[in-house]
Subunit: 209 residues, 2 copies
């Protein structure tokens, strides 16, 4: 029997949604345990001691009770689920190129596109610190540059790696399709818009909550 | 014959050094092409059109001349080099756990530990913008938290994944061993210090320039 899988998540987090979407596309059952990150529920002593010493979600729990092991980092959890499936290219360059876009997502995209959404649509502008306010223009510019780079790639490619959807697409879809909630105009990136429609049409696709 | 490998790099960049160290540990020959990122040499029209539309180094070039393909993102380039070697765990959880630490490095560690080194030791504090100055305290705290998390893990583990060195160690070593150049006191993290000595002792190890 396969190990039971549990996603420790905040349902508003695109990083958590990546894992749920990967599981859905692969037909893997996934139990859900919800937390509210704005209430410090991932910083409790119990959470830090058991689930993730880094105090963050998502975490993929593999197994149950005393035998459970915990895997933080959204893209690593997706990799765990998708190994051996068509969502990870098997050739040497393709596999590295898939990871290239996943690292791009965590370095150039998520800290800008996702953070502005979190600040502006989840926390709310009134809750921001002076340091956060000062960082908005830089994140606005860097997020727009990431979306422009994606748009340029998608002008000549249906998906990010090769001709089929991969984890690179899932990782980038999560926060891109809700980028308007961070103040980005998706209409400025028409190739991204067409790719979003292709992802939504995949068999097994589930929307974000 | 194996494809010729060329690293497009700035020799002061830890992200570039990861790739050189991976190649050295694996005994792979690697040609070097140097750029000065502080002079805009990775933002020229030629670089953007040919090497990396994202205007960043490192980029691993595979092959030569018209047939060359280009792989940005340091950790993806290391993955390309190390596939099938002992630097990537082969079991399902181990491989995902190796990536977990590599994503942690790019999300929690590099933007703080490496960025402060770049700002304070390479650019110099006099060159920083007001926005960069405002970000220093947050990056100082986040970098210290990343080093503390590493230290806690290394109190009970010789390496980050399992009992042997992997790409997770190479990725985290690059900027950790020069963290003092960003104002972090490595003496505060004794388990990290002992791990640094273990990495330096690996057969084939090469120092950063």
């Amino acid at each position: 029997m396969a190990d039971a899988l549990t996603l420790h998540q905040d349902p508003r987090s695109g990083n958590c949604y990546k894992i749920a979407l990967t599981a859905a596309l692969l037909g893997l059952p996934l139990a859900i345990r919800d937390y509210d990150i704005t209430k410090g529920e991932t910083r409790t002593p119990e959470f830090l001691a058991t689930v993730n010493a880094n105090g963050r979600i998502p975490v993929l729990q593999i197994g149950s009770d005393a035998d459970a092991i915990f895997l933080p980092e959204s893209n690593a959890a997706c990799w765990y689920l998708a190994q051996g499936s068509a969502l990870i290219p098997q050739d040497r360059f393709g596999q590295a190129d898939c990871l290239r876009w996943m690292f791009f997502e965590q370095y150039n995209h998520e800290p800008n596109v996702a953070t502005l959404r979190f600040w502006l649509s989840i926390l709310g502008e009134a809750q921001l610190s002076d340091e956060q306010r000062a960082a908005i223009p830089g994140k606005r510019a860097a997020g727009a540059a990431a979306l422009a780079l994606m748009d340029k790639h998608l002008e000549t490619h249906a998906f990010f790696c090769g001709d089929a959807p991969s984890l690179a697409d899932i990782a980038l879809f999560a926060y891109t399709h809700v980028a308007d909630e961070g103040g980005f105009a998706l209409s400025d990136y028409p190739a991204v818009g067409a790719w979003i429609a292709r992802i939504r049409a995949l068999p097994g696709f589930v929307p974000m909550d």
